[in-house]
């Protein structure tokens, strides 16, 4: 038999516990801004969306880099042309996705009689700015994680997804609150 539940638990606990520590920090940020989020629920709705997009784009990028490294058409160099292409396309896809989803969220908020309290244009700008910053950081993290883990003989496929989703969850909330502050919405 290959699998045993004790081994699964033993191998899973350390990484999961580390992830949970960082995610609890993200949760405390939400608690710190809870009053503002409850006053502007449109941003509360946006948080899982911001995190999901960055996590997925970072994971897809990581998986593509991992395959490239395994097969050998991507080399471990910050100047690798194929890596640059992948990075730029990921960032562009992120921006397009955030623009589409921002409009969907705004429409849902309007139709569900939620207290919106912010203009469509302003909302899209906030979500796009936060999203753009986040995608840049997460994509960079994805490249670094893929390269570093490959260099050390670890499989990037196992490493990239947990690392980028965790970084994305915390930084997504940080960037969203920072951009909201810049716009002076008053959360």
């Amino acid at each position: 038999m290959i699998y045993s539940w004790k081994k699964i638990v033993k191998h899973g606990i350390p990484l999961l516990t580390l992830t949970i520590f960082i995610e609890i920090f993200a949760g405390q940020l939400l608690l710190y801004k809870q009053d503002g989020l409850l006053w502007f629920p449109i941003f509360l709705i946006s948080i899982p969306v911001i995190n999901s997009v960055s996590g997925n784009i970072g994971s897809v990028l990581g998986a593509r880099l991992a395959s490239g490294l395994h097969v050998g058409y991507i080399s471990i160099s910050m100047k690798d042309k194929k890596m640059h292409d992948n990075l730029i396309i990921s960032i562009l896809m992120g921006v397009v996705t955030y623009a589409i989803l921002a409009i969907v969220i705004y429409c849902i908020a309007l139709f569900s009689n939620l207290r919106v309290g912010i203009g469509l244009f302003e909302f899209i700008t906030i979500l796009l700015s936060a999203g753009f910053l986040l995608i840049c950081i997460v994509s960079l993290a994805s490249v670094l994680t893929a390269f570093l883990s490959f260099k050390r003989g670890l499989d990037p496929d196992d490493m990239v997804a947990p690392v980028v989703t965790t970084i994305g969850d915390v930084m997504g909330i940080v960037f969203l609150f920072s951009i909201i502050n810049v716009f002076g919405v008053g959360i």
């Binding site: 539940w5 949970i20 995610e23 997009v53 397009v96 989803l101």
Partner: protein
Amino acid sequence: MYAKEMVKQSLPLIVFCGLGAIVAGSTLGVMTDLFLEIPGLIVVIPAIIALRGNISTAFGSRLGSAYHLGIIDADNLWNEELKQNVIGSLMLSFFVSIIIGVLAYVTSILMNVYPNPIKIISIVLIAGIISGVILTILTISIIYLVFKRGYDPDNITGPALATFGDIITMLCIFGSAVLVEVIL
């Protein structure tokens, strides 16, 4: 043409997952009163979503590898290997849910918010276990369908579980928060 293919293959799925996340987010929007009634509840949200995502995608990718290794297939699905995987995933959900509840309580006190520890821990535990059971059943069903059709499970389980996982987890937190609020 490299770029075009990449966009064509992954953009629709990423947008679709984003729409799923909007459903999960809307559940948060509905829970605003609960966040006021149960101080500290909002703290556990990112952690429990991450827990669910990590455990179920790892479960899915282990089943994918087991398929490629020839250990399980559509006709020989419910065997001892799968059972060990199921027990392992559920045990992880149980232990880590308790860790989340305790950490959320302790860190909230540092932030000068005083949650009811029994409430917070039982909400996370109930939500963690119920969403764990539902997602385990869902993963096995997805894997079964994927095997039957001869697809590669590695391409499908990840995004599918991420999307359904977020929604199911949010609904479970919502449900268990209401339940605990009524009982305790």
